[in-house]
C-alpha cells in the first residue's frame, strides 16, 4: 500500500504517490533553481508545469487514477535534466537522461574518479578513498603494505586504473566522486568554493578563475548530465570498487587468453603456408587437405575452433569493460557474438563428425607376396634406397617427446608415408613367406577396403636379398584415413634372417629369445628356433634364471629397469645420429643389387613401444 497525495499541477488535480511526488518536487525545485533570477522564470515554470500536467494526462489516459514513480521518470526523460533547461546551452546529443539527480534515493550514488585535489601520484588512491568513503591516508598505507607481498600486481593495477579511470575534471565529477547528489545547488556551491579559492590568488589567478568559471558553467552541466546517466546505470546495485577490480581481472585474463590464442593461430597459419610441395615437407594446410574433404574444410574447422575458443574470451573482456566503465554493451554485439559462437560450434561439430565418420570402419588387406626361396639358409632383409635423406625420429629431450617426421611427402598426387613396419615370425611350414598387411579406414568397409587396395609399396628381391621400403604410397585423393602397411616375414625353423644396417629403419619390435632391441639386432644373423629368433653366434645365456644375475653382454641387454633402458638408449636419442650406412656392404655384396649409395639415417626405432615392452617383460 502506498500513500498518495493530491497535487494541483497547472490547474489539474492529480493523485500522486508519495515517492513520485517527492521526486517531482525535487525536479521542479532544481529547474527553478536553474533559472535563478532569470526574467520570466515564473512564466517558463508555468509552461513547464502545464506540459508536465499534459504528459501525465497522456500517461494516465483515463484508465489509471494515480501518478506513479515511473510516470514521473517518464516525464523527466521527456523534459530533460535541469541543466538542459539552461537558456542557450541546448540540445547536446546525449540521449534522454534518467531521473537520478532529483530522486532522493539516488543521493548516495558515487562514481570512481581520480582525485586531482588529493593526490600523490595519479590521484587513483585519493579517488578510491573518496569512492569507498575512507580517509585517503589509510588507503595509501594499505597500498604501501600490500605492494610487497603482492609482488607488483598492485602496481600494475594502479597504472591500469590511472589510465582507465577518468580524472574528476568538473564540479559534477567531484560531487559524484564524493557521493554528493549532483544537484544544481551543489554544483553551484562547489563552483563558488573554487571561485573563492582562486580569488585569494593574484590578479592573474582571478582572471583565470573568471575564464575557468565561464568554461565551467556549461561543462559542469554537460558532465553532470553524463555522470547522471552513468550513475543510473551503475545505480541500482551500488557497484563498488570490487566490481571494478573484477572487471580489470577479467580484462587482463581475457587479453592473456586472446594473445595466446592469436599466437597459436599465427603459428598454425605459418605452418600452413610454409612447407610447400616442392620442399618435400607437408605444410599444415596440405595436411588439412589430406585429412578433410578439401583444404577449405580444414581452414573452416580451424577458424571455427578458433572462434569457439575466442568468443567466450572476448565476452570476458567485454564483461570486464562493462564492469569497469559502466558502459552498456550494444545489444547487437551480444547477439552477433552469441550467434557466431553457436554457428562456429555447429560448424566444428559438423566438420569434426564428418571426419570421424570417415574413420569409422577399418579394412585389413592381407596379401602374401610370392618370393623365391633363398638359395642358402639365410634370407637377407634390406631396404630399398629412398630418394633423398630423411630422418624420422622420436627424440626424448627434456622429458618431451618430439616427433620429427620429414619423410611424409606429397608427390604426383600420391602421398608417401614412411611408417612401414616389419615383423619376423615363425613360418607355419618349411618355407619363407612375406605377408603384406595393408590397412585403411573409411565410412564403410567398402570404402576402407578400396583405400587399402590403393596402397602400393615397393618390393624387390635380388637373390637371397629381400628388399622392402620404409615408405608406402597411396593416392592423395583417398585422403589420409589411417593407411598403413606392415610386413610379416615368416622364417621357418632352422633357417635364418640377416638384418642389414639399412633394415634398422623398418624392423619393428622383432621378438627374439634374448629380448634384444631392434637397434641391436641389425648386422646380425638370427636363426629361427622353436623358442623364437636367436643369434647363434652370440654367447648364449646359461639359463633364464641366471640371466638376470649375470652382467648382460653388450648386445643382449636386458634392462633391469625402464630407467636403465632410457640411459641405455641414449645414443639413439641424438636427433640425427649420423649412422650413414651403405646398403651394399659385405653382407649384401653377393646380391645383384645396384650399387646405390643412398644414405639413410638410422632410425632410433620407436623407443617408446620398446620401453613399454621392456617394462612388460620385466613384469613377467
Amino acid at each position: 500500500m502506498k500513500k498518495t497525495l493530491t497535487a494541483n499541477i497547472s490547474g489539474t488535480v492529480f493523485h500522486i504517490e508519495e515517492d513520485a511526488y517527492d521526486m517531482l518536487q525535487r525536479y521542479l525545485g532544481s529547474i527553478r533553481a536553474q533559472f535563478g533570477g532569470t526574467a520570466g522564470r515564473d512564466e517558463i515554470m508555468a509552461d513547464i508545469e502545464a506540459r508536465i500536467a499534459e504528459l501525465f494526462n497522456e500517461r494516465l489516459d483515463g484508465k489509471r487514477q494515480v501518478v506513479s514513480l515511473t510516470d514521473v521518470e517518464h516525464v523527466m526523460s521527456v523534459m530533460g535534466q535541469p541543466e538542459d533547461f539552461a537558456d542557450g546551452d541546448a540540445g547536446d546529443d546525449a540521449p534522454p537522461a534518467g531521473p537520478e539527480q532529483a530522486g532522493p534515493q539516488q543521493r548516495k550514488y558515487k562514481r570512481f574518479f581520480r582525485d586531482p585535489d588529493d593526490k600523490w601520484v595519479g590521484g587513483v588512491l585519493g579517488g578510491l578513498a573518496a569512492y569507498i568513503g575512507m580517509d585517503p591516508v589509510w588507503v595509501r598505507v594499505a597500498m604501501l603494505i600490500l605492494v610487497w607481498p603482492t609482488g607488483g600486481v598492485l602496481v600494475a593495477m594502479y597504472i591500469l586504473l590511472w589510465i582507465l579511470v577518468p580524472k574528476a575534471e568538473s564540479a559534477a565529477d567531484l560531487l559524484q566522486m564524493r557521493g554528493e547528489a549532483v544537484t544544481v545547488e551543489n554544483i553551484k556551491r562547489i563552483f563558488e568554493e573554487s571561485g573563492e579559492r582562486l580569488k585569494k590568488g593574484s590578479e592573474q589567478m582571478a582572471s583565470e578563475a573568471r575564464d575557468l568559471g565561464k568554461e565551467w558553467g556549461p561543462k559542469g552541466r554537460a558532465w553532470s548530465h553524463e555522470a547522471g546517466q552513468t550513475a543510473r546505470r551503475t545505480g541500482r546495485d551500488m557497484g563498488n570498487v570490487i566490481v571494478k577490480v573484477i572487471g580489470i581481472l577479467f580484462i587482463i585474463t581475457g587479453i592473456g587468453f586472446l594473445m595466446s590464442l592469436i599466437t597459436g593461430a599465427i603459428g598454425l597459419s605459418a605452418a600452413a603456408w610454409s612447407g610447400g610441395w616442392s620442399a618435400g615437407n607437408v605444410g599444415a594446410l596440405d595436411l588439412g587437405g589430406l585429412l578433410f574433404q578439401s583444404r577449405d574444410h580444414a581452414v573452416y574447422l580451424t577458424l571455427a575452433c578458433f572462434l569457439v575458443l575466442a568468443i567466450p574470451v572476448i565476452g570476458l573482456i567485454i564483461a570486464g569493460i562493462r564492469l569497469l566503465m559502466d558502459t552498456r554493451t550494444p545489444r547487437w554485439l551480444g547477439w552477433t557474438l552469441s550467434f557466431t559462437w553457436l554457428a562456429s560450434l555447429i560448424a566444428a561439430i559438423v566438420i569434426g563428425a564428418g571426419l570421424a565418420n570417415d574413420f569409422r570402419q577399418r579394412a585389413r588387406n592381407r596379401t602374401e607376396i610370392p618370393i623365391m626361396q633363398p638359395a642358402g639358409t639365410t634370407l637377407l632383409l634390406d631396404v630399398i634406397g629412398t630418394p633423398g635423406t630423411y630422418s624420422y625420429n622420436w627424440t626424448f629431450d627434456d622429458g618431451d617427446f618430439d616427433w620429427e617426421d620429414e619423410g611424409f611427402m606429397l608427390e604426383d598426387g600420391r602421398v608417401r608415408a614412411p611408417w612401414v613396419e616389419v615383423d619376423v615370425q615363425r613360418s607355419p611350414d618349411t618355407l619363407f613367406h612375406v605377408i603384406a598387411i595393408r590397412t585403411a579406414r573409411g565410412a564403410n568397409t567398402k570404402e576402407a577396403a578400396l583405400r587399402a587396395e590403393h596402397i602400393t609399396y615397393p618390393f624387390q628381391q635380388h637373390g637371397d636379398s629381400l628388399m622392402l621400403s620404409n615408405d608406402f604410397t597411396f593416392p592423395s585423393d583417398d585422403k589420409f584415413r589411417a593407411q598403413d602397411v606392415d610386413f610379416t616375414i615368416q622364417v621357418p625353423v632352422g633357417r635364418s634372417i640377416h638384418f642389414t644396417p639399412g633394415a634398422r629403419m623398418i624392423i619393428y619390435d622383432v621378438d627374439n629369445v634374448t629380448n634384444t632391441l631392434d637397434s641391436e639386432m641389425i648386422d646380425r644373423t638370427w636363426t629361427m628356433t622353436e623358442r623364437g629368433l636367436q643369434d647363434m653366434n652370440a654367447p648364449a645365456p646359461r639359463s633364464e634364471e641366471q640371466h638376470d644375475n649375470i652382467p648382460a653382454p653388450p648386445d643382449t641387454v636386458k634392462a633391469p629397469s625402464p630407467i636403465a633402458a632410457v640411459v641405455w638408449q641414449k645414443p639413439a636419442k641424438r636427433r640425427t645420429p649420423p649412422r650413414a650406412v651403405r646398403p651394399n656392404t659385405a653382407n649384401v655384396a653377393r646380391t645383384d643389387m645396384h650399387a646405390s649409395t643412398t644414405t639413410v639415417e638410422a632410425r632410433p626405432h620407436m623407443m617408446i613401444p620398446n620401453l613399454l615392452d621392456l617394462v612388460i617383460r620385466q613384469v613377467h
Binding site: 497547472s10 490547474g11 489539474t12 529547474i31 533559472f35 532569470t38 526574467a39 520570466g40 512564466e43 517558463i44 509552461d47 513547464i48 502545464a50 506540459r51 500536467a53 499534459e54 501525465f56 494526462n57 497522456e58 526523460s77 521527456v78 523534459m79 530533460g80 535534466q81 535541469p82 538542459d84 533547461f85 539552461a86 537558456d87 542557450g88 546551452d89 541546448a90 540540445g91 547536446d92 546529443d93 546525449a94 540521449p95 534522454p96 537522461a97 568554461e215 556549461p218 561543462k219 554537460a222
Partner: protein
C-alpha cells in the same frame, strides 16, 4: 578546448533560427516544434525549448494565444510577429551566406 563545447556553441546559434523557421509556416504548439526539432536531431529533450521560446517572445519575435485542450490545461500556440518575420528573413539570408562561405572554405581545405 573540447569538441563538445564547440559543437554546443554551433548548435546554440542555429537553434533559435530553426525555431523561428518552424514557425514560419504557421502557428505551432511547443510539442509540435519539439517533434520537428527532434526529427532533425537538433534537440533531444523538451526542457530546452521553453526558456528559448520565452526569450524569443520577450524579445517581441513571437506571440502566442491560448487554446483550450481536451487533454489537460490550455495550450499556448506560438506564431511569428511581424518583427519576427523580418528577423527570420534576415537570418535566412545570413544563413545562406554563411553556409555558402563554410562550404567554400571547407571544400578548399579539403582540396589541399
Amino acid at each position: 578546448m573540447k569538441v563538445e563545447n564547440t559543437k554546443a556553441q554551433m548548435r546554440k546559434g542555429v537553434l533559435e533560427y530553426c525555431i523561428l523557421s518552424t514557425l514560419a509556416q504557421g502557428e505551432l504548439y511547443p510539442s509540435d516544434i519539439i517533434s520537428k526539432l527532434k526529427d532533425a536531431k537538433l534537440i533531444v529533450v523538451e526542457g530546452t525549448l521553453y526558456p528559448l521560446l520565452t526569450r524569443l517572445k520577450d524579445a517581441g519575435l513571437l506571440t502566442y494565444r491560448w487554446e483550450e485542450s481536451r487533454s489537460g490545461p490550455p495550450r499556448k500556440y506560438y506564431k511569428l510577429t511581424t518583427v519576427g518575420d523580418k528577423f527570420l528573413t534576415e537570418l535566412d539570408q545570413t544563413w545562406d551566406e554563411l553556409s555558402a562561405a563554410v562550404k567554400k572554405t571547407t571544400r578548399k581545405n579539403a582540396q589541399r
